[in-house]
Every structure is written in C-alpha cells, then in structure tokens.
Symmetry: D3
Subunit: 248 residues, 6 copies
Amino acid sequence: MKLLIINPNISASVTSLIGEESQRIASPSTEITMMTAELGVAYIETRFEAMIGAYATAELAARHAAQHDAIIVAAFGDPGLAALREVLDIPVLGLTESALMSACMLGQRFSIIAISRRISAWYRETVQTNGLLDRLASIRTLDQRVQNIGSIQNDHAEELKALCMQAIEQDGADVLIIAGAPLAGLARTIAADIPVPLVDGVSSAVRHAESLFALGTHAPRLGSFAHPPIKPNKGLSPAIQNILNPQA
Amino acid sequence: MKLLIINPNISASVTSLIGEESQRIASPSTEITMMTAELGVAYIETRFEAMIGAYATAELAARHAAQHDAIIVAAFGDPGLAALREVLDIPVLGLTESALMSACMLGQRFSIIAISRRISAWYRETVQTNGLLDRLASIRTLDQRVQNIGSIQNDHAEELKALCMQAIEQDGADVLIIAGAPLAGLARTIAADIPVPLVDGVSSAVRHAESLFALGTHAPRLGSFAHPPIKPNKGLSPAIQNILNPQA
Amino acid sequence: MKLLIINPNISASVTSLIGEESQRIASPSTEITMMTAELGVAYIETRFEAMIGAYATAELAARHAAQHDAIIVAAFGDPGLAALREVLDIPVLGLTESALMSACMLGQRFSIIAISRRISAWYRETVQTNGLLDRLASIRTLDQRVQNIGSIQNDHAEELKALCMQAIEQDGADVLIIAGAPLAGLARTIAADIPVPLVDGVSSAVRHAESLFALGTHAPRLGSFAHPPIKPNKGLSPAIQNILNPQA
Amino acid sequence: MKLLIINPNISASVTSLIGEESQRIASPSTEITMMTAELGVAYIETRFEAMIGAYATAELAARHAAQHDAIIVAAFGDPGLAALREVLDIPVLGLTESALMSACMLGQRFSIIAISRRISAWYRETVQTNGLLDRLASIRTLDQRVQNIGSIQNDHAEELKALCMQAIEQDGADVLIIAGAPLAGLARTIAADIPVPLVDGVSSAVRHAESLFALGTHAPRLGSFAHPPIKPNKGLSPAIQNILNPQA
Amino acid sequence: MKLLIINPNISASVTSLIGEESQRIASPSTEITMMTAELGVAYIETRFEAMIGAYATAELAARHAAQHDAIIVAAFGDPGLAALREVLDIPVLGLTESALMSACMLGQRFSIIAISRRISAWYRETVQTNGLLDRLASIRTLDQRVQNIGSIQNDHAEELKALCMQAIEQDGADVLIIAGAPLAGLARTIAADIPVPLVDGVSSAVRHAESLFALGTHAPRLGSFAHPPIKPNKGLSPAIQNILNPQA
Amino acid sequence: MKLLIINPNISASVTSLIGEESQRIASPSTEITMMTAELGVAYIETRFEAMIGAYATAELAARHAAQHDAIIVAAFGDPGLAALREVLDIPVLGLTESALMSACMLGQRFSIIAISRRISAWYRETVQTNGLLDRLASIRTLDQRVQNIGSIQNDHAEELKALCMQAIEQDGADVLIIAGAPLAGLARTIAADIPVPLVDGVSSAVRHAESLFALGTHAPRLGSFAHPPIKPNKGLSPAIQNILNPQA
C-alpha cells in the first residue's frame, strides 16, 4: 500500500524522525511518502497553531490523496483529522487517535507524557474529542520551555522517565502514551526501564493505517462523514477546490 | 465600542442579514463593522468547511483586530473560536457559544433548530466542546437539501415552527436555539407563535460582546489561552505572522 | 430597565457591597433596587442555609417582581434560582450561573476561589446543576472559619491571590471566578496581579440581566419553566399566593 | 424505633395513603408518626413548589426531630432532603432516593412511572442529583392534567400499566419505580401484571430508614453534612433557630 | 428469612469474620448460612481472581438457592453479582453495591478505604459499574502487600484511621466505606474516632437483603435480568445446568 | 506469529465461521489456531452466560498461551478479556473492543447491529466498560428469538440491512459494527448495499492482534494489569494454577 504521512509542522527534522520510526514498523509492502507542511510553525502546542496546521495538511492531502491508499496526520493532537475524513475517500489517521486505540487494547487507564506544559490543554481536548476522558489517568509534561525540538529526547531522557513512573505510581496509569512527534521512538528506547506498556503514536498510526486499508471499508455516502454537499466556493487552492467539488 | 463581526462563509447576503440583526440589538455606542470571508464556501455544514472557515476568519481577524474592541465569529459552530482566543487580546465570541449562554440562563434544557440534517453532527460536537451536551434536549433540522440559503426563513417558516413544537413537546426543551446565521432574526419573527423562549445566536453574541467589553477583563498571560510561545514559522500571511510573533 | 437585586442573606453590609459593585457596571439607564432578605442567616455556606435563603428570596421577589424588569438572586450558589424562574415572567439571574456564563466565554476551564472550605461542596453542586462540572478545574478556598464577613477581602487579600495562582499553575484554570457576594469587587481590585481573566458574579449578573432584558424573550407557556399548574395551597404569604395563583 | 414521616404537601388524604403503605411494610417495633405540611400546595410538581415544600418540611422536622429516630420526607423529588441532613443528627430519607437505592439492587437500568408530564423535569433533576442519570432508562408519565389526586390510581390504572410495559419493551428498563406519594401502594397492586420488579418509594423509604437506624452511624462532625457553622440569624421560627444554633 | 452468604474467597477465617458481623446486625428472624468458595484464591484483588470467584460463587448459589430467600456475594467487588441476578429468582446482593447504597443515603460523596493498592482499580471499576463514579471522592489504600489477611484490621488500625482522615480532609468525602470482607467490623470498632459516618459492606448487605425480601418483588420475566433463553449447554455442573435449564 | 482464537461458546459451527473470516484477513505469516470452549452454552447473550464463557476461555488460554503470541477472545461482549490480560504476558484481544477501535477510526458515532434483543444490554455494558458510551448512536437488534445460530445471516439478511439503514438515518451513526461471532463475515457480504463503513469484530481483532504483536510492548510489571500477587489458591485446574503461580 502507498501511505502518505504528513507532518503538519514545518520542521523537516521532525519529519525525518517520524519517517525513520514509520519505516521501522511498516510492513515490507508498505511504501511510505513523507511530506512536511509548507506553512505553519515549528511545532504545534496550541489550538491556533493546530488550526494553521490543519489547513496546511489539508492542502497537501488534497494534492496527493489520489496517489495514496491512506494518510497519516503526523502531529499529536490530530489537526484536521475529522475534517479530512469528510473529503477523502481513503483512511485518514492521526497520532493521538492511533495511540489511544493502541492504549485501550493494552490497559484500562492511560497517561500521556508530553513535551511542554502548554501542550497539555490541547492534548486533553483531543482525548475528549475521542470520548476517552474517563480513561485518561493524567497528562504529565516537561516543565520548561522547549529549547531544541530536535534533541528533546536526549536532553530530557531522565525527566521523561521520571514522569512515566509518576504516572504509573501516583495517577494509576496502566499504559503510557509517549506523545508528540518529536518524541517518536522514545517509547522504544526506554521501554525496558518502564514497567508498563509504552505506546508510540507514529508506529501505532502506521500499523492501524495498514489495518484499515486491509479491512477495506469504503468511504461513507451517508452520515456525518459523507462528502460535504457541493456548493459555491471561492478563494481556495485548486487542490482543495477539487476535493470539495470533484465533478468540477 | 468597535465590534468586528466576521462571517466565515463567503455569502455576502448572509453577512447583510447578520449585520441587520446585529444593528437591531446593539447599543447605540456600539459601532459595528461587518466582514465576509475572502475564501471558503457558501455556508458551512461540515467539519472540513468549518476548518476552512476558521482559517479565513483568522486572516481577517489578524488584519483587523487591532482596530476593534471585540470580534464575533458569525457562523454557528464557531469555527476557529478557541484558536482566535489564544492570539487576540480582545474578547472573541461565537454564535453557538453565545446562544448556549443565553439559553442556559432561560431554562435547563434546550433544543437546537437548524437548517439541514447534515449540519447536526457539527452542531452536536460544538455543544459537546462547550461541555453542555447533558443539557441538549435535541437537535431538529429541516430534512431536505438547502436550495436557497438567502430565503430559507421564508421558504420553510411553517416547517421550522413545527420543529420548534416537536422539540418542546417530544424532547422536553425549555428553550430553543434557532441556529445558523441564515436563520438570524427568525427567533424574533416567530417568537409570538412559540410557547418557550427563543434564542438567536447573532443578537446574543452582540450583547455578550458588549458585556465582555464592559467587564473589562485583560487577556491571559498564563494558562491555555495565553499567547502561543514565539517560535519559527513559515508560509503565513503577514497578518498572521504578526499576531503569532508581535515583536517581530 | 428596573433591576431588583435581592441579597438572600440578612447582612446589610453585604447588600451595600453588592449594590456598589452593581452600580459601577450597570448601564446608565438601569435603575437598581437593592433588598436584603428579611429572614435567614448572615452568609450562606450550606444546603440548609441556601434553602432558607431561597424561601426568603421568593417572598421578596413575589412582592416586588411586578415593579421590575429583571431580578438577580445575589448569593453565590443561586438559592431558589430555578424555582423563581417558574413563577416569574421576567428574567431571573443568579451570581454563580452568571459568573459561569462569563467564564465560559473567556476560557475553557475555570476555577472558583471562595471564602470557606465549608462552602465548596455547595458551590460544586451548583456547578453540577449548571451541567459544567467537566469544565471546573478546581475550587480553592480559604481554610479558616470566616471571622468578619464584611472585611474578608482586606483581611485575606494575599491568601486569595495565592489561591488564584495555585488554581492557574496547578489545576489548569484558564479563568478564575471570584465567588461569593462578600468578595464582590475583589476581581477588579486584584486583576492586575493575576495573569488570567477574573470573573465577578455581581457584575456578570448585572450585565447579563441587561442582556436578557434587551433580548426580550417572553416567559414560557410550556416546558418545565412554564407557570406551575394552578392548585389548592395553604399557609402561604399573600405575595406567594398571588404568584402561584395570579387569577385569584 | 420512632419514625417520623412528613408529607411536604398539604393533602391530608395523601398523608393517609402514605401512612397505610408505611404501616404495611414497617417492622412491628417501628412506631410511625405521620405529619402533613402546614403550608404549601396540594401536590408538588415543580421546582418552586418543591422549594416551598422543603421549607414546610424543615419546620416540622425541626420541631419534632428530637423525639424521633429517623425522618422520611414523603414526596417524590425529596424536597429539602440534603438540607435537612445537615442540621439533624438522625437519618433523613426521601422517597426518590430510597426508591433509586432499591431499584439499583434489582436491576441495572430503571424507568420512572409518574402522574403528570409536568413533574418529569423535576424527577429527572432528582435522579441527576443522585448521580444516577446514566441508569435512568426513561420517565413515562400520564399525559393529562391531574384531576383528583386522591383517586388517581384507580382512575388511571390501565394507562399506568401501559406506561410500565412501554418502559420495559421500548426503553430497556429492568425495574420500574412507581413515583409519587399519590401512587403509593400501586406497585403492590399491579405487580402481578408487570413482568419486572416494581419499586415503591414509601415502602422502600420505611425499610431503608429502619436499616440506617440499625446500622447506627453517627452524625458527621466534618465534611459537607456536618452541622452548619453557628452564625447570626434572623426572622426564623423558634424551631429552626434551635436546630441552627442548638447551644442558644 | 433464610439468608445464604457466600464468601467467594477460599479463606475460612474471613468467612467466620463475615459470619460474626452478619449475625450482629441480622434481625432475630433471619437465619444465616455461611459458605466458603470451594475453589479460588485467598483473597480477591484483581479482575482475574474476581472472575474465578464469580464462577465458584455461581456453583454454590446454584446448588443452594432453592433453600434460601436471598443470597449475599460476600466479597467487595461483587464478583458475579449481575450474572447471578439473571438466573436466580431470589434477591442477590453484593458488599460493594450494598455499601454504596448505604453511603448514598448518608452523604453526597464517599471515599473507599481498602487493604491494598492493587485492589483499587477493581473497586473503581465496580463503582463505575454501579454508575456512581461521580460521587466517588477517592479510594485510599494501605500501601504494602497484605501479609496476614486475618489480622489486617489489628495490624494496620492506625494507618487505616489515617487514611480515613485524609479522605475526609483532602478528598472531600462525606461518608467512608470500609471495603473488603477482611475489614468487616472495622467500621464499627473505629467509628468513634472518625468524624463522618462509616459504612460496612457486610452489615449493609444483610440489612438490604432483609429489606428486599420484605419488599417482596418478584423475579423479572422480561428485561435484561429475566432468565437467559433456554439453549444447548455442555460441560457444566449439574447445579448450573439446572439453573440454566430448570425444566430439564 | 502464532495466534490463538478461542470461541467462548460451545458451537463448533461458529468456531468454523470465525476461523474462515480470520484466515481471509490474516497476514500470510500469521498462523491461526482455533479452539472452542469445552464448557458453556451455544451462544452467549447474557451476563451469566458470559461469566461461564470467561471461565471456559480462561482454561483454554491458560493451557495454550505459552505456545502463542496473541489470543483473541472470539465472542462479542469480550468475556473475561480484562481478566486474561492480567495473567497472560501476550496481547489478548476481544471482538467488541477490536470492533470499537476500528469504528472509532472510521467515524465519530457508531451503532451496533446485533442478533437478539436480549443481547443488547450486555453489549451496551461492554461499550460502557470501554468508556465509549457517548459515541454509541444506538444498538439495533433482530426482534425474534434466534432459531438457528448457524444460518442467521442468511435467514435474516434483509432485516439486518434494514436495521443498518435505520441506524444511519434515524440514529445518526457514521459507522456500523456488525456484532456477534455468528454474524462474522456479514459486514463484508453486505458492504456494497450500506452507505457507511461496516466493521466486523473478527477481522478487526485479527488485524489488531497482528499490530499489537508487531508493536512489541512487554507485559506490565506494575499497574492494574500486572500479574496478580502470588497467594494461596485451591480447587483450580493445573493450567490456571500455573498461570496464577508460575513459580510453583
């Protein structure tokens, strides 16, 4: 299958990190294309940044969906995920949703370990959108401003492990989600030190994308994820015009 | 006060309708500026369309916020509302949120009367984002495809009244929200025929905007609605760059 | 408009405090009448005291509603608010509900800062009645018994500010509600020191009363806030008899 | 034990009905005293009427609690129940709460069968106050205005049975609560015709009152049901003054 | 009445403890039979152990139900409670459910005090099954591995009292449930030292069993607790075969 | 990978059906072993039957887990799923949970289409255990008693399709779960006729089992899914003894 992974942030280094982690888990027959948002911010922590990221992702998805079998929106918080599902007729996955689905099959309550305090409100709202707030034991985050998004895993490894142990021992987590594309792969490298299963959004999303493709469901023609009704539009890019009005 | 009302749809006729209803309720000292999205669709019914509308609204808000005291995002569903609150230091209001706040002060449970079946999932999710799903008695909608967004109030007056009565008698609504900018003013024109209070999003938003301005709270410097951390960005319009990085 | 503000407590000094704060925010055309409960306790902290306060408020409201355009029940916890809405055909508002509505338009999650530990259960239940428990980040309260209800703002200013900061930094509040009529005005005086918006119940209620009056909805003739069915009664004051059985 | 049962309505005929049903289920050693509210309405259907009923019940409870071992507030909706628990040091029970507790031990989801449409909002709120809304399958009610509260069981027996069957077959109820003091005893008389357990509030309350008395817990000295802090009061009856300020 | 109390654990000493506490509270006319699971573990702390305990309890219940008027499943967590209700036509009660029902009539929010950290997830899920998670203030537990299940009350009396005080003062509990059959009777022995009501599962269950028997409801013939449809089975004990297929 | 699929029912024909559907979706490298419960009933519809099925599944799982890489509990309702997760150190999956996870990635709200009215309460409780009740649009079921569990798909194809359309059009489902092992494969055969994605529990579980195996998380050593503490046991099969006390 042809899998398109779009980083809604503009950080090419994070795109590389996601790409490596994706290749590691993907089935041999899965061909991965990585893309980086052409507009937006270095890493999304807030609702406004997510809104921009959603728009940037939509543009890339609209341009390239026809050549792929599934798309992953590769920022935790899943910017634009539900929106894209309405207009594309291939599976669209997000890192948070995918990680939550994996976590739910590994335990009852989960915590999220994240890179900045600021990001936690947005993550909490994403869990709520997924309807899973009752299973969220906690969100624990690094406390300081992110200095270097590329080296955050190495710079803060011990603090991140300490957050993991607090989530287990104080918050009652059965399983931990290591959140945010910049932490892709961390779940794997620290797994041996942490006494509960660790879930990684990127590898979960790649596996679940392969599964949805294999399960082979068709796009909805009714319900709230059917294609939006055709109607006048204005000022949109050709690609977005085209997915809104395919007949045109 | 100077109030900017942005229609996230591209329909100038709907902008006019919103403008008239706004003028009718506004205090004499409130000076209203109406704007219409420069890009987007004729009327927003889905998550994807709302995402586009949020982006279009953000551009206008970013350009013009400095000259205003409050902004109303004038589409039911409140596209981009929470996002805009993070980057602007004036009050930002939405039609749904404003209508919900009015409704909560007039009864315990409310129903929403809307223009199309398709729109109801998006409205339901907006109520859920507001945390008020337990007070939602029902969403009742016209059944057919919208033909003419400009004349929908007249074309379907009797059906809309019938939906109102069903919401009261069958669903237990204490108060009704007439939803969607194309129905602006309908609450006023049919009020005498409906035996519970009717809430209109536009007039609610104008009044609540005046109230928030009068209450005079300052913008947050901490918490999840403080300004996003300054960080590299790319590909954004000058106005959006400027609100993301005001020092620059 | 003629606005009646009833203090459900017997403390005339608190009535004065509420009156001053109300005058400060009210529109020039709003004429405010202040009344103090003729029976009850010095300040309501519990469900039993609230029940007494509701009854005392009902008596005053029944006597004076006909000469007013809206009524504010001016104790946090909103004693008798929903009850009064059933029998009066003008808007009735409460401090908690009004503060919650303002807070919801300024952030996603709010904390309540209050004057006594004992009062927090009652406040929590009021938030739950409003259906907004999921958005309540915390209730933080002074720890000691209230000594002097009149001077509590001055006596405990630093502790109250510290509670505010804890709610923001530890509980994730986006906005703070300064609760309880004895703290009326505190939100204004400490606003500059607190990095998130502060909401005051009294000024919110005055503004929202003006808005509901301006929106001009009529009283319900159906639904759970329509007037109670006429039926035999006994032992009630003339005023309450009259609102229960207006034809008599 | 000495059990005081207070009818918060002024209808002596309903008090008799409650008394008969109570005697039927009470243990031989339980001595029952029946009292009827000295002020209020013929039967409580609304929040305002419940507020009046709570006040009337409080007066009787305050006067007579010292001579009893437990008190039942004998109107569905439990007017003043939580309030009374704060000031009395004997168990206080309500019909709704007691019926809910019985129902929860007989099935997972329950429906409530009630005498008037108007009453259903108040009942729903009572279930919500008990935190049991998720287990409420439905509330089904007679449709017309109550004509004769004393003969309602006979006048509407067949309709009430039909409501029972609808709740089972259409709403998924495992157990039914026959609600409202005017229906006391109906659960017993129609049980043979209804294929799920029927719960009666009055007999449940009498049994649970005996249980709480037997379990012998003491009144709280801390927490939100401890006695309210002693403070100035005014305009209250001697009995209520006495329970608010026992040392005086 | 003839009451069968089944200990789903294999610990005869705990059965004795339960038996003593049951006799102390039971009415003179209640004849109690105690039984201990014939298979299982020393004390249930986990979902797997509960599943085994449910099966062991079902076997004893199936064998002996016909000779009894009610059955108590005497392990906190209520293993198999809902399952047994489907196949037996006498009341079946559990310690957790019974304690929750008592607690709900004594306060609004309750905490659970338990013997091991490990047990708290299972208890939390039991409260959730009862639909009462919103009223759960906290679960507080002893921290160390249980050494001697028989002497745990004496070995840890002071720690247990400290947990009680923390639940009241830090978590906002109005009432405390002392959980787990090995703590049967502790509520009684430490009641004088704890300033809120303490609820014991065993004595609550005995009283509520007597009440359900007295209320005399019949077994359901419809709804989700009616007897399972008759169908082929295999490999089951004669007793279980018999309750599944009574005609056979 | 070696995948063990256990049918908790005793119906070998259903085991075959599950096996066929599993083979169809499984990766070439997945080696599937099918087993049928040695004790239990023909098909599980109730809590008691599920409890028996859980026990029967546990016995087979305990015997054979060591030779496999993952286990699927192949009855909708997931009997014993959480219990088995505690004692096995390989992934354990269930049909309901797996179907829910697939459905959540294909839409926001889902309905369940099932084979008998009686089964719906158990399914609803399973969704609730998964914390996803807010996303459940409805459960729609065939109305009559199941006659022939083996041919149910053919006997009722038209009715099942009609239920699908009702769930979409009347209940607002975005995606449908075809529930119950006896309906395995139906999602595939009717997909072309139904305008929203259809989810099948068996194929979802096989794919998710492969994913969890590929993700390679280790078994928890802490938290509520760690192995139960070692303690005395009695009367258990050698296999179950062995998984409870692996050192023995």
